[in-house]
């Protein structure tokens, strides 16, 4: 049936007593943290007061330590992620176009995909050093398979009817790919892009914590070593925010491409 919902406006937000309760819960949590730590009931090593978290965060920003590290991490994430996206999507379509290539490659891809990526970090560090390159390779490995397999599934799930229409009009193989399969696979491709955006930051922070001289993960493990728990909290919050923002950006790109013809 016709989906008239396409043009429908988003549900209006109304403030209910449940929302009030949620805010109260968060406030209560923050206050009890504040009280528990400042009264000495819980040691500063295990927990930090919200005010200390803000203070240490402000300190990191104003003394200029945060920004270079943030930049390093972002550069690593974006380089690795975009490499993964480009390779994943292009290879996905090559597989669909040349099934022999998939037959040949898929066993190797499955094998590499099955390896817990964090386990090969020691090797990556041996090969690429503890700097930029090893992190980029790790993020690439974190993301590329998700994007690849989502692209392949999306292109293969292209409705039989869509293909029939294309063959009635005698579309060439290239036309079939570019005019039918890619657009039909877009939702699935974006699914892969969103999923791997969410994991990209996990990979980089972990790698930086293990061995690095810069980056947010490095800053985090340094704070941990110095028992600067407030700083640890601040960096965790920052990393979470970046991760959420990253996924939002991908969703935004998807919206630009697809919102006209389907609900995103």
């Amino acid at each position: 049936m016709a989906q008239k919902s396409n043009g429908a406006k988003a549900k209006k937000f109304t403030f209910t007593w449940i929302n009030a309760l949620q805010i109260l819960t968060v406030a209560a949590l923050l206050i009890s943290m504040q009280v528990a730590v400042s009264s000495g009931a819980i040691s500063k090593v295990f927990l930090a007061t919200p005010t200390d978290i803000v203070k240490s965060g402000w300190g990191l920003i104003t003394d200029g330590t945060l920004f270079p590290h943030l930049l390093v991490t972002l550069k690593e994430v974006f380089t690795g992620y975009f490499l993964a996206a480009a390779v994943g999507i292009i290879l996905g379509f090559l597989w669909v176009l040349f099934p022999k290539l998939e037959q040949y490659m898929s066993v190797f891809c499955s094998a590499i995909m099955a390896v817990p990526k964090t386990a090969i970090l020691p090797l990556l560090i041996l090969w690429f050093g503890i700097g930029f390159q090893s992190k980029v390779v790790l993020i690439f490995l974190f993301g590329v398979f998700t994007i690849l397999y989502n692209t392949v599934t999306g292109a293969k799930q292209c409705k039989v009817e869509y293909m029939k229409v294309a063959s009635v009009f005698e579309a060439s193989r290239a036309q079939l790919v570019f005019k039918v399969m890619i657009p039909a696979a877009l939702p699935s491709i974006f699914n892969g892009l969103r999923l791997s955006a969410a994991t990209a930051l996990t990979g980089v922070v972990f790698a930086e914590m293990q061995s690095a001289r810069e980056g947010l993960g490095f800053l985090l493990s340094q704070a941990q070593n110095n028992l600067a728990t407030a700083k640890v909290f601040f960096i965790i919050i920052l990393v979470t925010l970046i991760s959420v923002l990253f996924v939002r950006i991908i969703a935004g790109v998807e919206y630009i491409f697809c919102h006209k013809w389907r609900k995103v």
């Binding site: 043009g7 294309a166 009635v168 009009f169 005019k179 657009p183 877009l186 389907r262």
Partner: protein, 259 residues
Amino acid sequence: MPTIQIKNLYKSYINSDGEPTNALENINLEIKDGEFVCVVGPSGCGKSTLLEIVAGLLSHTSGEVLLDGVPVTGTSRDIGVVFQDPSLYPWRTIKKNIAFGMDIAKIPKQEQEERLTKYISLMNLVGFENKYPSQLSGGMRQRAGIARALVMNPKVILMDEPFSAVDHLTRCTLQDELIRLRQEEKKTVLFITHDLNEAVYLADRVILLTPRPGKIQQEYRIDLPYPRNRDDAFLTHTAATIMTDITTGSRKDDVEYYI
């Protein structure tokens, strides 16, 4: 020379138990230039299989399908197909969907525009050009599906239960539009349906297929001028006759089976 000739056509395939099954048996059919032929029959009699073979989308086991004397070996731009589910591409606007075949054939933009203007107004789609399929009703979408086939100016149009997914009133409107269109465009039409009233209302000739394997059980000529009256005694009588023939045809089988 007849436009479509189907000679001793057989289609069998291997079913899920690994045994060969006949879908179509010894189909012989000639469709003349400009003729409108409806194929009716119970579900699973191979109506759609027949259409897909003529369209070049499916291969046949033996026999011949000729278009203007030339064997059909694959799809052809001389044959337009309208599917049951119009299968519009959801990422293209209605106009871009209708233009799809012309894009594929690399027809110059200016000519595309001329043809689009003509068929968009012919199919009563003016004002909906820039809408996406999800924003349109089922009837509108099927109109676009028909326009997409017509805009390529094929000699033959094959239609696979094109109106089965729309409501009754829309179906009647679309039927009348199809009759008007067919008179204006003088196309040869092979139309598959399970709606007997639709078949007798539209066609010059109705072909009844038997249940699987599909054989031609009976042919009915409808020599009435267009536009026709839905209540016409001859039409309702013919539809009733076809209905009787469908049921008696299967009753014969039952008797043979039990004795």
